[in-house]
């Protein structure tokens, strides 16, 4: 029984979403030149400040987080090994082998 095809099973649709995103980003960046903005802070006057900050901020966030894994990551049962009393360990001792 063939499963129903879903929208993102077709790589073309994924591409379409991505192109839509790229277009939106382009338009938003261009709007900086069109819309008159009320700016409070001098940094905000840089063209595309929010766009660049968002992009760079997220890349830096992910790269630092990835680097944090090198010294923070442990096995999934890191705490469980010592905290959980496994049933076999707490056995009364009169366990009959089958």
């Amino acid at each position: 029984m063939a499963e129903k095809k879903h929208i993102f099973d077709d790589p073309k649709n994924v591409k379409r979403v991505l192109y839509l995103l790229y277009t939106c980003c382009g338009i938003l960046f261009a709007l900086d030149f069109v819309i008159h903005r009320h700016l409070v802070h001098p940094w905000e006057r840089l063209v595309g400040f929010y766009a660049v900050y968002g992009f760079v901020g997220c890349v830096v966030l992910v790269l630092i987080a990835k680097w944090m894994r090198t010294f923070l990551m442990r096995d999934e049962d890191y705490y469980d090994r010592e905290e959980l009393v496994m049933k076999s360990g707490a056995d009364g001792g009169d366990h009959v082998e089958s």
């Binding site: 879903h6 993102f8 991505l18 995103l21 790229y22 939106c24 980003c25 938003l28 960046f29 709007l31 900086d32 819309i35 008159h36 903005r37 009320h38 700016l39 409070v40 802070h41 905000e44 595309g48 929010y50 766009a51 660049v52 900050y53 968002g54 992009f55 760079v56 901020g57 997220c58 890349v59 966030l61 992910v62 790269l63 630092i64 987080a65 990835k66 944090m68 894994r69 923070l72 990551m73 442990r74 096995d75 999934e76 049962d77 890191y78 705490y79 469980d80 010592e82 905290e83 959980l84 009393v85």
Partner: protein, 573 residues
């Protein structure tokens, strides 16, 4: 019949009692009716109502209604209603009763007018909510619940110590502005800080919330931290330290959220991040920033509830919650996926969604007050929250690679609860005046000016672009089965090890001392034995002649004494 002076928590406690004695659909109907009626009654209560009484020479005010407490009162009713609908399919008396008591405790705390009443509800929050964690009935949830309870009760004990010190220093137990001066106020600050997840005090949340039941976490996410936010807004507005604590809270959890695998734990980290915005707003202390903090708390309860509900639905239907095990669920749970995206858009502060109309107030206030670096941190956190809560949660659960899991939409009541929350998110985003009119201050803030809409949209779209780019470059960290060390390591691993090492040192010393004593005794015995072994001085056999000599010596001494003191013998007679 019903007086506005009857505190708002009373109906919910009655509801909890009714839930205890009813079963099945009747219980659901009764609890829903109680919450709706309680909410409608609260709408009738005017700001300014209060109840006062005297206790041990202190003037207490167990019930105090003003704009600030009313706002939290309303949203707690909304949260309780949504939570109960979400949990209607659950047949577990423990959970349903605990949830209502928990909601009642939250209402009691925000309407408390004095610190002693606050303390009572502060502890009731802890004791009632822990059952929502234990209700999972796994060994992990049991120990996580124990840790949660210890930390929460500790916060209450610190609050009690603080309020006693503060009360004796100032002669007043009023739950109003306290500010940081004196030991008592610092203790109260610390107690609030534990519940508000200040950095390094935050792990009870990320530890316990993901271990609770799918429905329990929805309640948990609504009440405890928001009561703490309310308490900070009430007692410490304009405390500059809070600006920096809040800014730190917005930033550090997002790093953990990016590499966390358990999607409900990702949401727990993002909850701390959102509370950071509120704490920061309270610290700035202007009318605009306090409004921002309070309205963000209001919106966060709804959109974070929605996100926890969508992940709860995933857990309920698939039995899995790790990003590494999920993916492709949009195929079998399209409605849940859509509702989750609404919550994700709201928390990310997309225009026309609820986060947009509240978070920006805090950021605008930070700029106005000259906190440039704090503003940059908040901006970074805004991009980051979109990254981990806005994209990561829906992406890894519903899209990404197809995990092959085929399930179906969650029960109707779950979908209904999520739909109500989603509708509220959009409604508040489109028509923010509805929330703004409840705010304590009138600032005339308008979130929808061209600059704000454009800059926020740019920030978010380019964050999304960064996500796409990192994924295409294969630089995005994959979801892995793992545990990431956090401050909790100090009390979950380091302290037990340290205490263990300390005890083994004590035991070592004790053993050494006893061994030394034993060796001395053995030495003495050996020495005595040596004396009596063949050849030992004690075992020499002496001839009878020796005794005769000694007797002669004794007699000689006696004779000499007698001759020297002739009268001495007479004295004896």
């Amino acid at each position: 019949m019903w007086s506005p002076e009857i505190p708002a928590f009373v109906p919910l406690l009655i509801g909890a009692l009714l839930a205890l004695i009813t079963r099945g659909w009747l219980r659901g109907a009764v609890t829903l009716a109680v919450i709706v009626v309680s909410g409608l009654l609260l709408l009738q209560v005017p700001a300014g109502t209060s109840v006062q009484l005297s206790f041990l020479g202190y003037d207490l005010m167990p019930y105090r209604v003003d704009k600030l407490s009313l706002m939290f009162g309303y949203v707690f009713h909304i949260a309780a209603l949504i939570g109960v609908i979400f949990a209607l399919h659950v047949k577990d008396t423990l959970q349903q009763v605990a949830a209502l008591v928990y909601a009642a405790a939250a209402l009691g705390a925000v309407f408390a007018g004095d610190l002693l009443t606050l303390f009572v509800f502060w502890e009731l929050l802890a004791v009632s909510s822990v059952f929502l964690i234990w209700a999972r009935r796994t060994e992990r949830s049991y120990v996580a619940g124990l840790r949660y309870l210890i930390i929460q009760v500790l916060s209450g004990v610190i609050l009690l110590a603080g309020l006693l010190a503060h009360g004796s220093a100032t002669g007043s137990l009023a739950f109003g502005y306290i500010g940081l001066d004196g030991v008592g106020s610092w203790l109260i600050f610390l107690a609030f800080g534990i519940k508000a997840c200040f950095p390094l005090l935050h792990n009870w949340l990320t530890d316990a919330y993901p271990e609770a039941t799918p429905t329990g976490t929805v309640f948990l996410s609504a009440f405890t931290t928001k009561v703490a936010v309310y308490a900070l807004a009430r007692s410490f507005p304009g405390t500059e330290l809070l600006v920096f604590i809040g800014a730190a809270m917005t930033c550090f959890p997002i790093f953990f959220a990016v590499i966390e695998n358990d999607l409900r734990r990702v949401l727990a980290y993002s909850l701390i991040n959102q509370v950071g915005f509120m704490v920061c707003g309270i610290g700035i202390g202007t009318a605009l920033s306090i409004n921002g903090a309070v309205s963000h708390a209001f919106n966060d309860i709804i959109f974070k509830g929605l996100l926890f509900m969508s992940m709860g639905a995933v857990l309920h239907m698939t039995g899995r919650i790790n990003g590494s095990d999920l993916g492709g669920l949009y195929k079998s749970m399209p409605k849940t996926a859509l509702l989750c995206i609404v919550g994700a858009a709201s928390i990310s502060a997309f225009p026309l969604f609820s986060g947009f109309v509240s978070k920006s107030m805090v950021m605008a206030a930070a700029l106005e007050e000259g906190y440039d670096w704090v503003w940059l941190m908040l901006l970074f956190a805004s991009a980051g929250v979109f990254h981990h809560a806005g994209i990561k949660i829906p992406y890894f659960a519903f899209f990404a690679h197809d995990s092959g899991i085929r399930t179906s939409e969650p029960p109707t009541n779950m979908l209904t609860a999520m739909t109500i929350a989603a509708v509220l998110c959009v409604a508040i985003g489109v028509y923010p005046q509805w929330v703004y009119q409840l705010l304590p201050f009138d600032t005339g803030y308008n979130p929808y000016d061209a600059t704000h809409v454009l800059t926020q949209t740019q920030l978010l779209f380019f964050s999304a672009l960064a996500f796409v780019w990192l994924n295409l470059q294969k630089m995005y960290p994959p979801e892995l089965h793992s545990v990431n060390l956090d401050a909790e390591w100090l009390y979950r691993r380091f302290a037990p090890r340290l205490i263990g090492a300390g005890f083994s040192r004590v035991w070592q010393l004790d053993r050494n001392f006893r061994e030394w004593c034993l060796s001395r005794i053995t030495g003495l015995i050996n020495y005595l034995a040596q004396l009596h072994y063949p050849g030992g001085r004690g075992s020499v056999t002496r001839p009878t002649g020796h005794m005769v000599i000694w007797v002669a010596v004794l007699l000689a001494v006696y004779l000499w004494l007698l001759l020297s003191f002739p009268n001495a013998a007479m004295v004896g007679h």
